[in-house]
């Protein structure tokens, strides 16, 4: 049962070569570009969505922060499409691999922090001590704030991995449970409903992308511009 359950998370290989590369390169095929003002329906809907999200996301930044807009919008599109494609049957979701999420989280976080330290050292260091703390508490609080800063990339990566993996696992489990119950106890359609609801809620994996990019944004904003 154990090996069966986790088999869908093994990175697929063709004769030992990683086919995961092909699967990661598949989402851009679904997002065409165009050089015209008026396009077909697919491109129009996608451009509308991108405009909506990018306006929402970049509204709170100043000029310097908005130079990151291309990076952040492509990040949210990539994670959103990858997670949604992973909901199809038998498909492989690259964001379930911790290695990939770490590769996304660490450079972005490090870039934001280093940018903040380079431009305004005093402001960046001031984050380590919230305003109005009583004097005896200061050393401990500085340590705590440092730890909370250093743990941000790990939290970003592990959050995404754990959420997507847990959702997929639950769907597998409940699916197999439904099949088992259909012969033992047919009136147990309640379990089938649970699958449907779980699937819908799992499409709040898209909300997870919001969480990912949003936390990234908040950290970027605080470090860079405050």
């Amino acid at each position: 049962m154990n090996e069966n359950l986790f088999a869908s998370f093994i990175a697929p290989t063709i004769l030992g070569l990683p086919a995961a590369v092909l699967i990661i390169l598949f989402p851009p095929l679904l997002i065409p570009t165009s050089k015209y003002l008026i396009n077909n329906r697919l491109i129009t809907t996608q451009q509308w969505l991108i405009k909506l999200t990018s306006k929402q996301m970049m509204a709170m930044h100043n000029t310097k922060g908005r130079t990151w807009s291309l990076m952040l919008v492509s990040l949210i599109i990539f994670i959103a499409t990858t997670n949604l494609l992973g909901l199809l049957p038998h498909s492989f979701t690259p964001t379930t691999q911790l290695s990939m999420n770490l590769a996304m989280a660490i450079p972005l976080w490090a870039g934001a922090v280093i940018m903040g330290f380079r431009s305004k050292i005093k402001n960046a260091l001031a984050h380590f001590l919230p305003q109005g703390t009583p004097t005896p508490l200061i050393p401990m609080l500085v340590i705590i704030e440092t730890i909370s800063l250093l743990i941000q990339p790990m939290a970003l990566a592990v959050r995404l991995t754990a959420n997507i993996t847990a959702g997929h696992l639950l769907m597998h489990l409940i699916g197999s449970a439904t099949l088992a119950m259909s012969t033992i106890n047919p009136p147990s359609t309640l379990i089938i409903f649970t699958i449907l609801i779980l699937l819908t809620i799992l499409e709040i994996a898209v909300a997870l992308i919001q969480a990912y990019v949003f936390t990234l944004l908040v950290s970027l904003y605080l470090h860079d511009n405050t």
Binding site: N4, A7, A19, I23, L29, N40, L42
Partner: protein, 104 residues
């Protein structure tokens, strides 16, 4: 003057499309195709634009344009997990395919 239906000069084999190649010429046609990396990339690009212009880049494109792509993606991923679905587990005494067949 050449009569109707008769080509004045024969078209070289390698420029013909696949459906126009005669069966005897098939090996030489395959060998003359461009298998360099840029040739393969060009083939993928042509295939992509052929699909795109037929189903998506039209005035009233429907959802089937992208659904066909997703269906192919599902079949592609299924082919990857086929081997695992077919392995016979000694612990359960069945493979996954047999277990699912039992419920139908």
């Amino acid at each position: 003057m050449a009569s109707v239906g008769e080509c004045p000069a024969p078209v070289p084999v390698k420029d013909k499309k696949l459906l126009e190649v005669k069966l005897g010429e098939l090996p030489s046609w395959i060998l003359m195709r461009d298998f360099s990396p840029s040739g393969i990339f060009g083939a993928f690009q042509r295939g992509y634009y052929r699909y795109y212009n037929k189903y998506i880049n039209v005035k009233k494109g429907s959802i089937s344009g992208i659904t066909m792509v997703l269906a192919c993606y599902v079949l592609f991923s299924y082919s990857f997990s086929y081997k695992h679905l077919n392995t016979y587990h000694l612990a359960f005494l069945t493979s996954e395919h047999e277990r699912l067949r039992k419920y139908h």
